[in-house]
């Protein structure tokens, strides 16, 4: 097990290094001179030179890369060109909106998907199964940001149960949570539809396995056999999807923040783009990719816990 974790850790660090190289190349190498790029066409040479010095771009590209990475590792994400504050501070504020949103949606989508998938699989071929499958088909087809707009229309504009947007800050935790309710529902439901379908097909596949017959031959009832033998085996493919969904949720969260005017990482990154603030864009995308890679790593570990056959492999 320890060797498995170490192996995964090595692969995690490799992924991080390659990912950071890709981002660095796109942002700092492809545009030629990032400083000139950020200032636009009309900037005079001395301003560009000043900015270049400011950004620490005077060294070779390799030095720049190393400086950027060592900075990131130490929590120094550079200084935002437009805000004139450390990016780390900007990110820290926004993270407390985006992260709870993504986690809340992941929990919500799992809580919805598991029972639904289980019910559909247990009633395979009956009315309940067809009903659920039809519903999930619809759920997958709904774009989450449009769903979010509909939620606003119904629950904020018409019913006045929630605010249409904005974020009061964590000073009043209840209000903060309340402002995240609609966004996380909007994010979670379409994902739950996908997850429920995966859960159902994984369970159905598991139910056809030989060991399920063995379990029944031991005297387990159909229900006991499902709970004791099928669920954990079916969890293995479901875990993969949960891992993948995290990256979709993260991306989705960035977009949903726009619908609800939430001051999260998404808003920060779009401001970065419109203001050509490459420092912000570079650091925040790296952070997003970092989050996805770490979650993949956690899923791999969860895999090995669920499936003893994986533990020996490196």
């Amino acid at each position: 097990m320890l060797r498995y974790i170490l192996g995964r850790l090595v692969s995690l660090s490799l992924s991080l290094i390659v990912a950071s190289l890709v981002i660095f190349t796109v942002i700092e190498v492809i545009p030629g001179d990032p400083a000139a790029f950020m200032l636009g066409l009309n900037a005079d040479d001395s301003t560009v030179a000043a900015l270049r010095a400011d950004l620490g771009l005077d060294g070779s590209r390799a030095e720049c890369y190393v400086a950027w990475i060592t900075g990131m590792v130490q929590g120094d994400f550079g200084t935002s060109y437009t805000y004139r504050v450390p990016v780390a501070d900007l990110v820290a504020d926004r993270l407390w909106v985006s992260l709870p949103l993504a986690v809340l949606s992941l929990i919500l989508s799992t809580l919805i998907a598991f029972p639904i998938g289980l019910i559909a699989a247990a009633n395979r071929g009956r009315a309940a199964d067809y009903g659920i499958m039809g519903g999930t088909q619809l759920g997958i087809a709904v774009p989450n940001f449009w769903f979010a707009m509909l939620l606003v229309l119904v629950f904020a504009v018409n019913l006045h149960w929630f605010n249409a947007g904005g974020f009061p800050g964590w000073g009043t935790p209840i209000m903060a949570l309340k402002s995240l309710v609609l966004p996380s529902i909007a994010l979670a439901l379409p994902q739950a539809a996908i997850l429920a379908r995966v859960m159902r097909s994984a369970l159905i596949e598991t139910l056809a396995q030989d060991y399920m017959r063995t379990a029944r031959a031991k005297g387990l009832s159909r229900r006991q056999a499902v709970l004791r033998h099928a669920l954990r085996n079916a969890l293995i493919p479901v875990l993969t999807i949960i891992g993948l969904q995290f990256s979709f949720l993260l991306a989705g969260a960035i977009i949903i923040e726009n619908v609800f005017f939430l001051p999260g990482l998404g808003r920060l990154i779009f401001q970065g783009i419109t203001q050509r603030d490459l420092v912000v864009v570079e650091s925040v995308t790296m952070l997003l990719v970092f989050a996805v890679i770490v979650v993949t790593f956690l899923v791999d570990i969860a895999y090995a816990i669920a499936d003893p056959r994986l533990r020996r492999r490196g």
Binding site: Q137, V142, P143, S247, F248, I254, I273, L288, V292
Partner: protein, 274 residues
């Protein structure tokens, strides 16, 4: 005449309607979508404007038609990129199973999975500025590992079969076997995956154009229409409802078609039905 299952039929009809709308928009739309006629702004549905107009006086039906064209084109090209690059990579990985090449291809795939389409789009936009091309590349890149995985998985299970060994005994090389024996037998998988990626592509394009990272005005797109409608949602909710409905129906149609095709093409399921 084979009797097609109901969901497949519904899916095919829905997809055909949107395809027809998109194709028709090249030749004819009820009104010009790029011309802003302020006098006609926010008209309700009528004989002149079948679905009404938006706050800039543009005809909603015409915009939906052109939007369908944009969506379909972006998703189609993105799927094309995924198939053209992903399938050969997957086949190569399967043919050299366990080799360094296989390892590198699969690790490369994992790496791309760490970059959600949106992140790729953000990176490209930050440097090159927003465009439809941008969306195609962002979605297309993400499709590559999807097709690589599906074709590798399908191919691996075929490589263990005796008819592949027989082909090798008949002197055929890995490339030839992949083309003659493997590819035709994983075509079903790929077709089904292509419909799934196609519908995901439409959703992704809508999301990207909603945040302004895809097609630029004046070309209308469904996501863009939703973004424009957002400020009008209190007074004119239909502006937000219609484009969303178009996305839902289009994606639903493709998904139903994908599921139907899978059932139709899966020999295991086919045997069950008989």
């Amino acid at each position: 005449m084979i009797r097609l299952p109901v969901p497949l039929t519904i899916g095919a009809v829905l997809s055909a309607i949107f395809l027809a709308m998109a194709l028709l928009s090249f030749a004819w739309t009820p009104h010009d979508v790029e011309q802003l006629v302020i006098a006609d702004r926010l008209q309700p549905a009528s004989g002149q404007f079948w679905l009404g107009t938006d706050q800039f006086g543009r005809d909603l039906l015409s915009m939906l038609m052109v939007g369908a064209r944009v969506s379909l084109a972006v998703a189609l090209v993105a799927v094309g990129i995924g198939v053209a690059l992903g399938v050969p990579l997957g086949l190569a990985a399967a043919a050299t199973r366990g080799s360094l090449l296989d390892e590198v291809i699969m690790r490369g795939n994992d790496l791309i999975f760490a970059f959600p389409s949106l992140v790729i789009a953000i990176l490209i936009t930050a440097v090159f500025g927003p465009s439809a091309f941008n969306a195609i590349i962002a979605i297309g890149i993400f499709n590559i590992p999807v097709f690589a995985r599906v074709s590798r998985g399908g191919a691996l299970s075929l490589w263990t079969l005796d008819y592949i060994l027989a082909a090798r005994v008949a002197g055929k090389g890995k490339v030839r076997i992949s083309a003659e024996h493997i590819l035709p037998n994983i075509a079903n998988l790929l077709i089904v995956q292509a419909t799934i990626q196609f519908s995901l592509g439409i959703l992704a394009e809508a999301a990207l154009s909603y945040v302004g990272l895809s097609v630029q005005p004046p070309t209308p797109s469904w996501g863009r229409m939703l973004a424009d409608a957002q400020t009008m949602i209190y007074t004119h909710p239909m502006l937000a409802v219609l484009p969303g409905l178009a996305i839902v129906l289009m994606v639903l149609g493709l998904n139903l078609m994908g599921d139907g095709l899978r059932d139709l093409l899966d020999p295991r399921l086919r045997r069950q039905r008989q």
